[in-house]
């Protein structure tokens, strides 16, 4: 039985990775999860300089989901390279660094700094709904998406995954633009912009007022967008959005994802990633699937 997948020349032992921002750089979760079991660890977004993030409260639970407005707090690329990459190197898993920025040159600075680092892929976050500058602005306009992809690709030494926002009218347009800009793969979906109001206090629950919604409630939206995008582009897709169980992951793969990221589920169960990997293996056995790749986009009709 083969569970390994190949993403733009990088082999992952299985298609399960962590969704950026939910798993730090793996250290905290390594108390619960054998990181060697994971296809890849996708790190929390890192910028050229440290970012303070948003004021608190930064998270709120909603029915079947949660909102977050952490605001991409991160220690900056230097600290990240000194501490987080060496930590992850101890494990037999792929390292995918999520990169955030406020301007094209911010992104490129981080990507250049990572050129000589032992990381396997880069995931460029052009879809964070919680920061005022950059972030989602690059992910909501096809021209801007293509431009930033091109700029990053010019300086990148590792394959580039562009992480797309669902907060658009037609995600396939952005996907096609990223592909035209040279993206090696696409990650989707980032969170959906939401809001929660405390009716007793008549105030916003999040200090940022709005936050990105994740969790099982958004899973059907993610499956739909992965399906549409898989039809529109030829680069591989990493599917994410509300994957809580192996069944959710398989659904995403059948919709057209070559790999999946598990995010909010880590909060509900720190061992979610390992359980999902085991569940995918069990499904393959039960359904006599020899190779996981048979399942990619294999939904009938």
């Amino acid at each position: 039985m083969n569970t390994s997948v190949n993403l733009c020349g990088v082999t992952l032992k299985n298609p399960v990775m962590t969704a950026s921002g939910t798993f730090g750089s793996g250290e905290e979760y390594s108390e619960f999860v054998d990181l060697n079991r994971l296809g890849a660890v996708v790190t929390k977004g890192v910028a050229n300089v440290p970012w303070q993030g948003n004021p608190t409260p930064r998270v709120a639970e909603v029915y079947g989901g949660m909102l977050n407005a952490v605001g991409l707090q991160n220690p900056g690329i230097e600290r990240f390279c000194q501490r987080d990459i060496p930590f992850l190197r101890q494990f037999d898993t792929r390292i995918i660094v999520n990169v955030c920025g406020k301007s094209e040159s911010d992104y490129c600075e981080v990507v250049q700094r990572l050129a000589e680092e032992p990381v396997d892929m880069l995931e460029i976050n052009i879809s964070c709904p919680n920061v005022k500058e950059g972030g989602i602005a690059f992910g909501q306009d096809p021209k801007a998406a293509e431009r930033i992809t091109k700029a990053v690709k010019r300086v990148a030494r590792q394959p580039v995954i562009m992480k797309l926002s669902p907060n658009v009218t037609d995600i396939t347009e952005i996907a096609k633009a990223a592909e035209a800009g040279g993206a090696d793969a696409l990650s989707l979906i980032n969170t959906l912009t939401g809001m929660k109001i405390d009716i007793e206090r008549r105030s916003f629950v999040l200090a940022n007022k709005t936050g990105g919604m994740s969790g099982p409630a958004i899973h059907p939206i993610a499956v739909r967008m992965v399906y549409q995008t898989a039809k529109a582009v030829s680069v591989p897709i990493i599917g994410m959005g509300g994957i809580m169980t192996a069944e959710d992951a398989i659904e995403m793969i059948l919709a057209g994802a070559s790999a999946v990221s598990v995010g909010t589920a880590n909060f509900t169960d720190p061992r979610a990633t390992e359980k999902i990997i085991a569940g995918i293996e069990a499904y393959m056995q039960t359904h006599q699937v020899e190779d996981i790749r048979e399942l990619v986009g294999a939904v009938n009709g």
């Binding site: 939910t22 730090g24 440290p50 608190t56 930064r58 029915y63 949660m66 977050n68 909060f267």
Partner: protein, 254 residues
């Protein structure tokens, strides 16, 4: 690194002790053995639509019995679910989490405000030279148990018991003095205590609260602002669930 345990804990007993306040005792395998005052646990809901664990501080730790005691307020649907737990039921628990209180030398004020009162009970059992000051909105709870541990001064917002006003009003009214403060409660109270301690040159350790997601330091939801750049985050904030919830008041901006 302090070890954390994920367990299916069994409910030994639960009762309501005040308006919306519940007293839950859980049988654990390992958590009670390793826990200390001021730490907290994450409780997970059974309802799959409620994804985030609820962080609840430890009101009591019985290492011999292997039990932990949680006194919490029903604040939403998750805690409402927990309030329905009956003897023999199980609940998924992760802990112990956070740093907890470290006792210093000297005479102490143990100060609790509202739902910040319960975690001070375990500390009261461990701290020898102390005065306990508790601030309630109105109806006191856990009062007799605190009184078993030492001298207790009460403040209530409505004046129904003790000093009318805040814990600081009670301290002033009774002319209390100490060398070190340990406190847990609402942010305005902690802010006032930080200023009070600075004014009097007292050591002051505050247990902070914030909305959490992962509870283990990965998601960066529950940060507090710090005076100095934090070693982990590399910015001026620190993770309450990991480096806290107890901080030296001089380190944090409230």
């Amino acid at each position: 690194m302090a070890q954390k345990f994920e367990e299916q804990a069994q409910v030994r007993k639960q009762m309501q002790i005040a308006d919306n306040i519940f007293d839950l005792t859980l049988q654990t395998q390992e958590i009670a053995k390793h826990a200390k005052a001021g730490q907290f646990v994450s409780l997970y809901c059974k309802d799959g639509a409620r994804l985030l664990p609820r962080p609840i501080s430890l009101c009591g730790i019985d290492q011999k019995e292997g039990t932990i005691r949680l006194v919490y307020r029903v604040a939403g649907k998750g805690t409402k679910e927990f309030s329905g737990l009956k003897e023999g039921d199980t609940v998924s628990v992760l802990g112990p989490l956070g740093n907890g209180f470290s006792l210093r030398n000297g005479r102490a004020f143990l100060i609790g405000g509202g739902i910040g009162i319960p975690p001070m009970l375990q500390l009261a059992k461990e701290c020898s030279e102390k005065q306990i000051i508790l601030g309630y909105r109105s109806e006191p709870f856990l009062l007799e148990e605190f009184q078993e541990q030492g001298e207790v001064f009460v403040a209530t917002e409505d004046g129904s018991a003790g000093t009318k006003g805040t814990v600081l009003d009670a301290i002033r009214e009774n002319g209390l003095t100490a060398d070190v403060i340990y406190a847990c409660g609402p942010t305005p109270m902690l802010r006032a205590l930080k200023a009070f301690a600075a004014e009097r040159g007292m050591e002051c350790y505050l247990s902070l609260e914030e909305r959490m997601a992962c509870g283990i330091g990965a998601c960066l939801a529950c940060v507090c602002q710090t005076k100095e750049k934090d070693a982990h985050t590399n910015v001026n904030n620190r993770r309450i669930c990991k480096e806290g919830p107890v901080f030296d008041a001089r380190e944090v901006e409230l």
